[in-house]
């Protein structure tokens, strides 16, 4: 009965794994390390939104993506083709669907390292860091784009994406020059009394640096570059703008009492809601964020 099994990577590795654990482990490590990635993988699965949006921008449509049903709420742009199969939850990509999709490459980030051994039994994996607690997500995203371009034979597309984004940053920086002295504070409302505020180690921080804006939030941030604080922590005497990431939070009615009204950015009408933009994204999200900031500030910003 077992002889009938197809001789794909899946079948052969799965059969081995039925033998001793050590043997199986050896084989899967070997598979992962000896570059079993196809010369030009065609059926790529992504377990990360940031890597998926990078793929789409360099013209490669992944066959599957985890939490694909959340894409429109959190990434919005680029649009996700309907052909992309939803692989289920972020932390537990559906193995049976993966088997059916027969991918030739599974993309993930070190965040999901715990799944590596399992995924290697299905297809070669490639883990690219975007956020690892060390910061520099923009640099990591650029490296990831190059890496993805190289292995998919789309190096030219990757380079043009990088060039395009550099150009966007430069253009936005130029347009924002008149308002660049005013720091911005980027928040996402969590509930009526708390916000996430983005600072050092976040993608937004890197983009602000590139487009010549200062981040008003200089206190410490966590692994992914944000801090969760009460709204009162936003109080500052400085003249700043508040950028509010308005995704899926329309229902949050926070206190707009005397304290909120006495915040300088409220008194001077400097609170702006931004459309959805992925906060833990890669190059495309970074560019989208720069463009959204530009659209909000540059035209009216000069005379503000």
């Amino acid at each position: 009965m077992r002889k009938n099994r197809s001789t794909t990577v899946v079948g052969s590795d799965a059969r081995l794994s039925r033998r001793t654990f050590g043997q199986g482990l050896f084989i899967s490590l070997a598979l992962g390390n000896t570059g079993a990635i196809a010369a030009e993988p065609r059926r790529i699965v992504s377990l990360d939104f940031g890597l998926a949006e990078t793929l789409l921008e360099i013209g490669v449509v992944p066959v599957g993506l985890t939490a694909a049903d959340d894409w429109n709420d959190w990434v919005a742009e680029p649009r996700l083709p309907t052909s992309v199969v939803n692989l289920g939850g972020t932390f537990e990509p559906n193995v049976e669907l993966l088997l059916e999709l027969k991918p030739d490459l599974i993309l993930l980030t070190p965040y999901l390292a715990g799944l590596s051994d399992k995924l290697r039994r299905i297809a070669p994996i490639l883990s690219l860091p975007l956020y690892d607690g060390a910061g520099d997500p923009l640099k990591r995203a650029t490296e990831a784009a190059r890496h993805l371009g190289r292995i998919t034979g789309s190096s030219a597309a990757a380079e043009s994406l990088i060039t395009r984004i550099d150009a966007t940053f430069a253009r936005v920086r130029e347009r924002l020059r008149p308002v660049s002295t005013m720091p911005v504070c980027i928040v996402q409302f969590m509930d009526a009394r708390h916000v996430r505020v983005f600072g050092a180690k976040s993608m937004f921080q890197d983009v602000l640096d590139r487009i010549g804006l200062t981040n008003a939030w200089t206190r410490e941030t966590n692994y992914w570059g944000f801090a969760t604080v009460g709204i009162e922590a936003l109080a500052t005497t400085a003249d700043i703008r508040l950028l509010r990431l308005a995704q899926a939070d329309d229902y949050i009615r926070f206190s707009q009492g005397p304290l909120w009204r006495s915040m300088p950015f409220v008194q001077r009408g400097r609170v702006t809601a931004l459309p959805p933009v992925l906060m833990f994204g890669a190059l495309p999200s970074a560019e989208r964020f720069a463009r959204l900031v530009d659209a909000q500030f540059a035209p009216a910003g000069v005379g503000d």
Partner: protein, 661 residues
């Protein structure tokens, strides 16, 4: 040492706490504003000075809210413990907080527009709904204190499991729920103060007016019933008022559960024995303790530069207090009748066990062959079955083994304590496993399968050692060990709560594991689980003589010639091993260890050996079924088996509880 008369001790404690909290408040104020501006900031801040505005509209209402919430929860805790005659009763045991939490989560998912108008009204309704279910479940049993607490615990767990499922399924949407679930006292206006103050005043007035019936309710059931039906009404009214006040606190600031459990115990320890003394001192000490805790959070905030949720902090700070209390607190004899455990065997056990075995086999076959794919439902046969078997078999084997082990642990611990509410999850061992994983995940940075196993084993070992060390001092008295387990579990839960509230995305990995996912199980792990289950279950079968005798109590056991101390220790160690191994697969949220022994006894399996076998089969059946349902119901997303077991099993158990035996 000066000999202080007991009557003054609560007052001295209150004064000490008050001075400490005040001193800390002055410190936190001083770091925020120069002292010459304090008067103006507190009384009449100028609109254009944002620093003074923050003090007036955030620091000050936060302080007052901490006083009000602390007083309210401690008050409710004292009343609940009085009328339920159970030192472990607290607002949490009625499921109010979980009810509020789940209603917010559901509103966020289904009708977000409602939240704009009535976030707190929704939480309130959820809390009341939870209590309504608790009352409905325990109504036919005459609101028996034990049944109320059991039902409340189950309702709380059930709602908690739904909330965890939602968070796992829509992780990006629900980060805010963690804050709510951990009780954050941040304020930006006086709305929480004006909301809580009249409600607290009203509840306190009602309780004081009811002081005589409430005192009588503290007597044991038989004497109280002799005093008439009026007391039944009084108990119901006091429960309702307490629930209302708890729901108000939850809707205003979220879950700050430990205050309602710990403060009444502290008050009693401080020497306030009579109910009317406790009724007065509990809210005072509760207010002061939460004030002190919250100011500590504020002071830490400046040092570690990140905000802790106060609710998680109070649990972290309060749980060790309870741990310490375990040694000295007076525990009323449990309301459990040991005789319950020794009705004679009512059914033919062997055919029943055979039937259960066949059912388990059927469940395993369905689970291995039936599933969903890109093109919909499918029965897998031939080569497709072969390919899937490699992935499905480990899950089925591990789920069966874990379910059986947790169920056996449940039989052991329930018989050991003579308490049908006891479960291995409550012993703290599974929380210990979680602790090990937290250290691995946040200390080392990664959590591969190969790290998870040793990490959780170390965690279980340390937790168990702590609980056993506490138990040793009291000759392994079941109530105290249970209490120690709950306390250790609470410390660890507080840590988990803190980590999840920080919004750290790594916390999601932890949550996935805690909820009992078989996703990460591979062949070798499943084989190891099966072998472990076989060895440990065989060992448990050897203990069945003890298990038949222990529920009769120490006096009977000793007269028969059983060394109570050693038999308890042996049973405990085995329980811990079973729990550790079982929760590695089934997580800490599955209540298989509570459900399976119940189900087996409901079917009439009374004798220890049959009870053990029946529970193990039920445990395996529940987990295999749960794993399969979790795989297919929301395909391609998967619900962890432990959560499904809770979602499906708990309502079933509640239904059983509601029926008269």
């Amino acid at each position: 040492m000066i000999n202080i008369p007991p009557t003054y001790r609560p007052a001295i404690l209150a004064a000490g706490l008050g001075i400490a909290a005040l001193a800390l408040s002055v410190t936190t104020l001083a770091t925020r504003l120069p002292s010459e501006l304090w008067t103006s900031a507190l009384l009449e801040p100028p609109n254009d000075d944002i620093r003074q505005m923050v003090i007036h509209y955030s620091w000050l209402p936060r302080l007052i809210t901490s006083l009000l919430a602390g007083a309210a929860l401690a008050l409710v805790g004292t009343v609940f413990q009085q009328i339920l005659r159970n030192p472990l009763a607290s607002p949490t045991t009625l499921g109010v907080e979980a009810g509020a939490n789940i209603s917010l989560a559901l509103a966020t998912l289904l009708v977000p527009s409602w939240l704009a108008g009535g976030r707190e009204a929704i939480a309130f309704a959820g809390g009341l709904a939870a209590v309504g279910i608790v009352f409905a479940l325990s109504w036919r049993r005459g609101l028996d204190p034990l049944i109320v607490v059991l039902a409340g615990l189950l309702v709380g767990l059930f709602f908690g499991a739904i909330a965890a499922t939602l968070v796992l399924l829509k992780e990006r949407h629900f980060a805010g729920l963690f804050l709510w679930g951990n009780g954050s006292l941040n304020q930006q206006d006086f709305s929480a103060v004006t909301y809580l103050l009249p409600r607290l005043a009203l509840a306190l007035t009602i309780f004081i007016a009811m002081i005589r019936p409430l005192t009588l309710l503290g007597l044991d059931s038989a004497s109280a019933q002799g005093l008439g039906l009026r007391l039944g009404i009084a108990r119901f009214a006091a429960l309702a008022v307490g629930v209302g006040l708890t729901a108000s606190v939850v809707s205003a600031v979220g879950i700050i559960g430990f205050v309602g459990l710990a403060v009444p115990a502290v008050v009693q320890l401080a020497g306030a024995r009579r109910f009317h003394d406790r009724l007065i001192w509990s809210p005072i000490l509760g207010a002061e303790l939460l004030w002190l805790a919250d100011q500590t959070v504020l002071a830490l905030d400046r040092i570690i530069d990140s905000e802790l949720p106060t609710g998680a902090f109070t649990a972290l700070a309060g749980a060790p207090v309870l741990l310490w209390l375990v040694r000295s607190v007076y525990l009323a004899p449990g309301p459990i009748q040991a005789a319950n455990y020794h009705r004679h065997q009512r059914v033919a056990a062997r055919p029943l066990l055979l039937g259960l075995t066949l059912l388990l086999a059927l469940a395993a076959i369905v689970s291995l062959t039936f599933g969903r794919g890109i093109d919909g439902w499918r029965w897998s046969t031939g080569s497709e079955f072969d390919m899937l078997l490699v992935w499905r078999a480990p899950r089925v084997v591990a789920a069966t083994a874990a379910g059986a082990m947790l169920a056996a642990a449940g039989v052991l611990v329930q018989r050991l304590t003579g308490n049908p509410m006891a479960s291995p999850e409550i012993l703290g061992a599974s929380s210990g496993a979680a602790l090990g994983l937290i250290v691995a995940l946040f200390g080392i940075g990664e959590l591969g399968r190969e790290m998870a196993l040793p990490a959780s084993l170390v965690g279980v070992g340390l937790t168990l050692a702590a609980v056993l060390a506490l138990g040793r001092r009291t000759g392994f008295s079941p109530d105290r060990i249970l209490l120690a387990g709950i306390a250790v579990g609470a410390i660890i839960d507080a840590l988990i709560g803190f980590l999840t509230a920080s919004g750290d995305p790594r916390a999601m990995l932890l949550l996935t594991w805690l909820s009992g996912s078989t996703y990460g199980v591979d062949g070798p792990t499943a084989a190891a689980a099966a072998v472990t289950a076989f060895v440990l279950l065989s060992a448990a079968a050897l203990l069945t003589r003890w298990l038949d005798i222990l529920p009769l109590g120490p006096a009977v056991s000793q007269s028969i010639g059983v060394n109570t101390r050693w038999s308890r220790l042996g049973t405990l160690v085995l329980t811990a091993l079973l729990t550790a191994a079982g929760s590695l697969v089934a997580g800490t949220l599955s209540f298989v260890g509570l459900m399976a022994p119940h189900l087996a006894r409901r079917l009439g399996l009374e004798q220890a050996l049959f009870h053990l076998a029946g529970a193990a089969l039920f445990g395996g059946l529940i987990m295999v079924g749960a794993d399969w349902l979790g795989r297919i119901v929301l395909f391609p997303r998967q619900i962890p088996a432990g959560l499904v077991a809770t979602l499906v099993g708990v309502p079933m158990l509640m239904w059983l509880v509601a029926r008269k035996a």
